[in-house]
């Protein structure tokens, strides 16, 4: 089989990877708020307020994991 990048599940993978991974730059020139990645704060707020995402089916797994961990 050949790997895909453009299917819906690959897109979910991409979101998962990009929100969780990537080199972390530890330096005084990096802008953070209390060492918490800003995307984490805003995404949590966005997920809490959004129901349409699961209608798309796109973020269902992520949403479920978050619900379980909360």
């Amino acid at each position: 089989m050949k790997p895909t990048k453009d299917s819906q599940h690959a897109l979910v993978e991409l979101v998962d990877i990009l929100l969780r991974d990537g080199a972390v730059i530890e330096a005084d020139i990096v802008v953070t708020v209390a060492d918490i990645p800003l995307i984490g704060i805003s995404l949590r707020a966005a997920i809490a307020g959004m129901t349409t995402m699961t209608q798309y089916g796109l973020f269902a797994e992520r949403a479920k994991r978050r619900t379980q961990s909360d």
């Binding site: 690959a10 990537g22 730059i25 953070t32 994991r65």
Partner: protein, 280 residues
């Protein structure tokens, strides 16, 4: 996303303005000679540029600070914008050292160049370690109903219990049903563990390193196979040399042929999960 930038006038003053911030996509070996980077728009539809020093390039765009995301739609769009930049840079210059989404550097270009100089050994080591390697994701999904009949047919103990149930009174049959359920569940877990172990050995042979990202039961609402069926999932990320992609795919094909097992294989991604942190 919510941070406005005013294009060329902002870029013009950025050389001297130490308050200018830059959104960082990835690090690369600096292009040689007159070669620049391709014309690209990234997050917030802002044009990306190159800041380089010591043979290392930072792919960035000027911004006013970190971005806030107000809706999932915007997040999805900006993640795709981010990825498109890193993908194009990777296709042009080889494997980049990708940094985490929404990393913003402050202090202007001069300060960023100084940071590169201070960390050049770490960055060069990171870039060298990732050359020609890309990240692949492998998801193993189990549809239990797909192979439980096979397990039932091949297990003598289950067949014995089935015979006992057929001959038992209602109360005893109820107890035996629970016994049967436990036996089948145990066999199923055993079977899934074997398959996951097999996938681990495939990854061991075809990747430089790999890691288990997640092992869970997922609600498979993104699949067209069955909208509400719970499936057990094991998800791995692997750092694979580009030339090993084919052999990995072929080996996974054999697993995907097992009844009740499906494989999702995605990539090649920039090696987000294997990029070393810089400046620890």
């Amino acid at each position: 996303m919510g941070s406005p930038s005013d294009g060329s006038s902002q870029q013009d003053k950025s050389n001297t303005d130490v308050s200018q911030s830059y959104y960082l996509y990835c690090l690369i070996p600096a292009p040689q000679g007159e070669n620049g980077i391709p014309e690209l728009n990234g997050v917030d539809s802002t044009g990306v540029e190159l800041i380089q020093s010591e043979g290392i390039g930072c792919i960035v765009h000027p911004c006013d600070g970190p971005y806030e995301v107000s809706t999932i739609d915007i997040l999805q769009k900006e993640i795709l914008n981010h990825q498109r930049v890193v993908d194009t840079i990777g296709e042009t210059f080889g494997t980049p050292l990708p940094v985490r989404f929404n990393t913003v550097l402050a202090g202007g270009k001069r300060r960023i160049r100084a940071w590169i100089t201070e960390n050049q050994d770490d960055i060069q080591d990171g870039l060298s370690s990732l050359v020609n390697h890309w990240e692949y994701r492998v998801q193993v999904r189990f549809n239990r109903s797909g192979y439980q009949q096979t397990l039932t047919d091949s297990d003598k103990r289950l067949q014995e219990i089935d015979a006992q149930i057929a001959a038992a009174s209602e109360g005893t049959a109820f107890m035996l049903e629970k016994k049967r359920e436990n036996r089948l569940s145990s066999l199923t877990d055993e079977r899934e563990s074997e398959i996951v172990s097999h996938v681990r050995s495939i990854l061991q042979s075809n990747s430089r390193e790999f890691q288990l990202v997640e092992e869970t039961a997922a609600l498979d609402s993104i699949s067209s196979e069955s909208s509400d069926e719970k499936q057990d999932v094991a998800k791995f990320s692997a750092l694979v040399h580009k030339t090993d992609e084919g052999s990995l795919g072929n080996a996974l094909d054999e697993v995907a042929e097992i009844q009740g097992v499906s494989i999702r294989f995605s990539g090649p991604w920039p090696p987000y999960s294997f990029a070393p942190d810089i400046g620890e």
